[in-house]
Point group: C2
Chain length 189, copies 2
DNA sequence: GTCGACATGTAACCAGTTACATGATTAA
DNA sequence: TTAATCATGTAACTGGTTACATGTCGAC
């Protein structure tokens, strides 16, 4: 009784559009889509695999995607999904909606740091170092991807999102150095 | 039947520690704690108000906080919570755990940008501008807070988390300018 | 003979949000 | 009289995760 007459239909979850959008790069299976997500939008929108399969089924019931089964001999059978005209319309509508939802950061580490007065300073410094390590690992992964897409004009927009990731990683790295420096200064006093 | 003998108790959700940590700054009510969260850890960990009340009750049942009722004449009665010795131990244990969960970013905007090939360029540019606007609004809020805590040595750790926010906002702003520039270059061709 | 890639899904769960309810006081 | 601040909470929901199940093929 939550979808009464006159009530406008609640908007689809963002993940639905994420999966729909991935289909604009061509027909593919849930499995392939999941792998594509892992090294593209996964950096700022990362649904679980099982969730991706569920969303693909939803897209079909909505008429936003079509499905066809492909039987394979050497490998398990698979289902291929393709975006429909209605799906593309729905996606464009969502994309052009001027409302910009602010990004949300969830950082258990910053939370810990906020309560740093209760931590042993060496432990804290070690965790800041670990953050740096993770960030540089990420930068290495991003650099690999960058090589592949930098000069591909058809991947201009994905490239811009990658640059966002790089910018944030660099900012974090510099910030971490600053924190370590100040931490040492404090311990010296 | 999901907590059998021998199974180690599942770790508490991060939000529980977030609320517990806030109590280390002194006894307070759910209401006050909610307000404190809004302009401190709220920037990287933001539970709903109703969630905060629920977590405070959980802390009491865990023995991590004590509760006392305070009757007021001019205002509604309230419950004040204070962290216990067991609570502080549990918090310290969590803080010193060397495992660093990487931060997660959820950005519906980057998701849209990734599919920018389906957007009208002016609409996209407008949304990038809107991101910049939001970021500068945030920077103004952070600058206000910075003035108040910059020279408070007792707030060194909160200050470090604030600097993280500032660094990320600046990085986003510069990145947005770069995107706008490239977007114009592209439209010129 | 074991591991990883391929391929799809179910069932159970959970963390967290939203909307709402209540009700007093004070300021515009 | 309208709105904001103070103050706490319930009930319903939802978006999403985790663990698991199933099975084949090829490489080492």
């Amino acid at each position: 009784m939550n979808q009464e007459a006159g009530a406008r239909p609640r908007p689809l979850p963002t993940t639905t559009y994420a999966v729909l959008g991935m289909l604009t790069f061509g027909e593919c299976s849930g499995y392939d889509l999941g792998k594509a997500v892992d090294e593209s939008i996964g950096y700022f929108w990362s649904p679980a695999k099982s969730h991706i399969y569920a969303e693909l089924r939803r897209l079909v019931t909505l008429g936003y995607a079509s499905e066809r089964k492909v039987e394979q001999e050497d490998r398990p059978d698979k289902r291929l999904y393709r975006i429909t005209a209605a799906g593309e319309r729905a996606l464009r509508e969502w994309l052009n909606d001027p409302e910009v939802m602010p990004e949300s950061v969830k950082s258990p580490f910053l939370l810990k740091l906020f309560f740093g007065h209760l931590m042993e300073p060496e432990r804290l410094a070690a965790q800041v170092q670990e953050v740096k390590r993770q960030v540089h690992e990420m930068l290495a992964r991003l650099a690999e991807i960058e090589k592949r897409i930098r000069d591909r004009d058809d991947l201009f927009f994905p490239y811009m999102t990658l640059r966002s990731g790089v910018a944030h990683c660099r900012a974090t790295s510099r910030w971490a150095d600053d924190v370590l420096k100040r931490l040492e200064e404090r311990s010296g006093r």
